[in-house]
Amino acid sequence: MISSHTLADPGKMRDYHYTGPVEHRFSPYSFNGGTVLAVAGEDFAIVASDTRLSEGYSIHSRDSPKCYKLTDTTVIGCSGFHGDCLTLTKIIDARLKMYKHSNNKTMTSGAIAAMLSTILYGRRFFPYYVYNIIGGLDEHGKGAVYSFDPVGSYQRDTYKAGGSASAMLQPLLDNQIGFKNMEGVQHVPLTQDKAVQLVKDVFISAAERDVYTGDALRVCIITKEGISEQTIPLRKD
């Protein structure tokens, strides 16, 4: 009796039909896009964000700014997972009220930054998927920017970009505000008008190449007089 063993055919494609039950994990996070940027000047601070809320290839909203006013001298920009952004800002607002009631004064920008770091680290093992940047005036009236990672590591900066187009914006800010990689250039201090103009130009360029950035730009300018807002349109495609 002759029996033939057909060897497994090495060249044949394994056909991808029903392979049995496959476990699909539910992901508690989703990425909603958006870019935030903060710049600190001598006596002012600017926090800017685009207003597009997206998911996958779709747009949820063209008018969802990512800057949230915390006090008269502090604005926070939050990008990443929108659900966590909303919850985090609610928690910060509640903590600000609690501080006001027990200490009879408003929290300073530095204090808010330190508090946010502990709030974020409290969720070290199920993080808030949020990239935060706080912009405001410190106790001496000088501009201050604090940038965070999702689990609470923070530092004080002069300028910082966060969110989906951060990799495109940060090098440009390093060059234009930090005067990096340039020689023989006078280090003139940044004026408020030049800073606002730079922020607008930088977002116009980011909207060209990043699909998650666009629709409109919300700029919050913080000075000792208060917080003023400007909205300028960006590419809608």
Binding site: I2, T6, L7, D9, S58, K200, S205, V211, R235, D237
Partner: protein, 285 residues
């Protein structure tokens, strides 16, 4: 009783072993932390519609690499023959090369038959090639043209299936474009009305789909006339950086650098010695 093992006779057709190898390589690269370069896809909204006198094809002009725009004004409507054009969505290299191969083969075929090529022929050639590659060529096409039997429109999927329909859309923005078609398509439209419909369908994809953007290209194919309109509609102009008053000697909003901003670390000059000089005339007519 001897048990004979009959060795496998050579299998014909394509071997896709390299695909398994590529998957293993990608897994190993990911383990180390780096990723293989992603093929550029076109994101895309493409569509086509049959109207009274012919066929209109439309496409957006954005090419993406991941979620970054690689090309803001690429051309997605490809030439197949003087009376047949093809829009391509999916992997950019695949759509470009596939349409070029079929265009070349169709020209040879037309010389052999002595007749104007038919859309059904291009469709048959494209589907047979894509099926041969079992979906590994990521090209989703909208093929349209005009031949001796009238206007024809086909949609062709990467695995090789085709549909012959009066209106089709493909790409990531296909749902947005199809919504416009399902609302306003009527059989036997006039040319201007059909152009407006295709323009609006692509615009829906451009503004509502993140993978599509920039401008709208149109291609109108009728008996004896071909209009390749690129761009038909510049729906999105590049943002203008505002130029304010002069600051010092240059306007703000101008990001050019003065000469000397890039530091020169060292400079070496090699003086070349001229040994011989000859003049050789060249016929440039």
């Amino acid at each position: 009783m001897a048990t004979l093992v009959i060795s496998q006779s050579p299998v014909g057709g394509f071997s896709f072993e390299n695909c398994k190898r590529n998957a293993v390589l990608e897994g190993e690269a990911n383990k180390v932390g780096c990723s293989l370069p992603a093929a550029r896809k076109t994101g895309t909204t493409i569509c086509g519609v049959v109207f009274k006198d012919g066929v209109i094809l439309g496409a957006d002009t954005r090419a993406t690499e991941g979620m970054i725009v690689a090309d803001k004004n690429c051309s997605k409507i490809h030439y197949i023959s003087p009376n047949i054009y093809c829009c391509g969505a999916g992997t950019a290299a695949d759509t470009e090369m596939t349409t070029q191969i079929i265009s070349s083969n169709l020209e040879l075929h037309a010389l052999s038959t002595g007749r104007l090529p038919r859309v059904a022929t291009a469709n048959r050639m494209l589907k047979q090639m894509l099926f041969r590659y079992q979906g590994y060529i990521g090209a989703a096409l909208v093929l349209g043209g005009m031949d001796c039997n009238g206007p024809h429109l086909y949609s062709i999927y990467p695995h090789g299936s085709t549909d012959k329909l009066p209106y089709v859309t493909m790409g990531s923005g296909s749902l947005a474009a199809m919504a416009v078609f399902e609302d306003r398509y009527k059989p036997d439209m006039e040319e201007e009305e059909a152009k407006r419909l295709v323009r609006d369908a692509i615009a829906a994809g451009i503004f509502n789909d993140l993978g599509s953007g920039s401008n709208i290209d149109l291609c109108v194919i009728t008996k004896g006339k071909l209009d390749y309109i690129r761009p038909h509609d510049e729906a999105n102009k590049k943002g203008v950086r505002r130029v304010n008053e002069l600051e010092g000697d240059r306007p703000t909003g101008d990001y050019k650098y003065k000469r000397g901003t890039t530091g020169v670390l060292s400079k070496t000059t090699l003086n070349l010695e001229v040994v011989e000089e000859t003049v050789q005339t060249m016929d440039t007519s």
